[in-house]
């Protein structure tokens, strides 16, 4: 790249006016901004969330990506058909499925074990995008803590219990979210 290349568009800085040379606008602007924020904060209008005392507000729980859950159908069976699409789509490879012959007549396979490593997950939501039967979904639970790595490997029972805990608050994200479930 040469300086006289015709493809280069040379942009000249605007010339400093008198006020710019005096530096006064800089001082005035800086102090005005400071005092504006200071008065706003002293008036109690702060953006801090004092977490243990007050909970953060989740804007829209339907698009918040927190802890996973495995949905159940009307008969209380797990909806998952062990098609491995979610495990394939997962960029962090945190979903581990062992399929088995399904005991029910409406599908061929069902997951014998379905483990999501919540520590490895990056909460991108690609598994719920990939799921053809809307079995795996992300809830709006953000408070995910554990005392050991083993505790953070969520197996099938745990994921189903997350569904039981959140199904009243967050219905399945079916038609509105581009799903296929009824």
């Amino acid at each position: 790249m040469k300086p006289d290349d015709p493809n280069i568009a040379w942009i000249e800085e605007p010339k400093l006016g008198l006020s710019g040379m005096l530096y006064l606008p800089l001082f005035v602007q800086g102090l005005t901004t400071t005092f504006k924020h200071l008065s706003r904060s002293l008036g109690g209008n702060v953006v801090t969330v004092s977490y243990p005392d007050e909970e953060p507000k989740i804007g829209n729980p339907l698009i918040y990506r927190g802890v996973h859950r495995l949905n159940k159908d009307e008969q209380g069976r797990v909806k998952c058909v062990a098609c491995f699409l979610c495990a394939t789509a997962c960029p962090a490879h945190c979903i581990d499925i062992i399929a088995a012959e399904s005991p029910w007549p409406d599908r061929e396979k069902y997951p014998e074990s379905f483990v999501i490593d919540e520590l490895r997950c990056i909460y991108c939501g690609m598994c719920e995008e990939a799921c053809p039967v809307d079995a795996v979904e992300l809830t709006s639970l953000y408070n995910l803590t554990g005392r050991s790595r083993e505790e953070m490997m969520f197996d099938k029972e745990k994921l189903l219990s997350v569904y039981d805990a959140t199904k009243d608050k967050e219905p399945m994200k079916s038609p509105g979210m581009g799903g296929t479930a009824t």
């Binding site: 300086p3 006289d4 008198l18 800089l26 102090l31 005092f35 200071l38």
Partner: protein, 413 residues
Amino acid sequence: MSLEFFIEPLIKIAIILGGLMTAAAYFVLLERRMAAWVQDRIGPNRVGIPGTKVRLFGLGQPLADGIKFILKENYTPAHVNHALYAIAPVVILAAALTTFVVIPMGSMIPSFKIGPVESKQPIEMIAAPGIDVSILLIFALSSIAVYGVILGGWSSNNKYSFLGGLRSSAQLIAYELPLSLGILGVVLAAGSLDLDAITRAQAFQGWYAFLQPLGFVVFLIAAFAEASRLPFDLPEAEQELIGGYHTEYAGMKLLLFLVAEFLHMIAASFLIVLLFLGGWHLPYITGDPNAETISWLTAAIRIGVFQAKIFAVIVFFMLVRWSWPRFRFDQLMALAWKIMLPLGILNLVAVAVVEELRHWYAPDGSLNWTLLTIALGWVVLVVGWLGVAISNPLVTDNRPRRDLSSVEVDSQI
């Protein structure tokens, strides 16, 4: 050489040391709260009385910080020059603390008699009263702080620390000159190097911030740079220098550096208040400045006024920190040498002319003369500022231009 001759200064020194250290700790907390408020946050407000649930707006935070620093491992890297490495924080802190020996903390308190303790004459609120060269002493000591910076940077045996130390020392040395020039006008006008005498002179002539606004501006900016606060805190520049001259320091040694920096800031605000904002003087309520004795009420009012001014200046320091962007190093040097120095000399010349004329025409300092002086001071401020800005704008734009196309450019870019 009586016993009181030793006991009185010792008591004063103890009070000043304890007060300063506590003040430094709590000003750290205040600065954190200020930073939080300016950035729409709450700040540290959870640490209160230890062992209880009482929060007290976070007033226990300095105690927690101190305990944390004491318990930290005092780690010394293997590659440093041990003697210099250990001595650098001591030098810088000693220089910062000794400054306060000659700074008056208010005016004086009347003589008293409490049981066996008795003072025959009023007690000056200064650890070393009657020193006629306080300002010179303060300057000598604040120059010693540069040694601490250089030693810290050099002994760390680390290129980043070394560069940070060089930049910091260059900055401190460069800004000593405008600082002195800003003070010289005050010294000329007051006719004394003694801070207490300067305060009393302001009670008669008016505050020098109004009489010599140009000197005030120069001194204020130089004081910011001397205390290495934003917008001049290159020693601290986290992004580009990793941490400046105290990169290799940990635990208590680092705390000494940080406390010394805060003490510089407190000393700078003391000087600003004493030299330009009238010290303990407020019109009509602080009594006769020349009286030999004062009442307890007047003494209390003077001390209160003085502390309030100090606090206001320190709060201003902290607000400025979040207002303006940091200077680049070349801009910093250009500001010191090309702008502050001419302005300081202009202020000095103007003050000298005014003082000479006053000596001939108004030795008693009438009101009209004071108003004339104020008007002249502001005219000098405007003219000097305009002249420097137009003749020497601080544009350090080093991008290539179209007319520089003859310059060899590496075509591999």
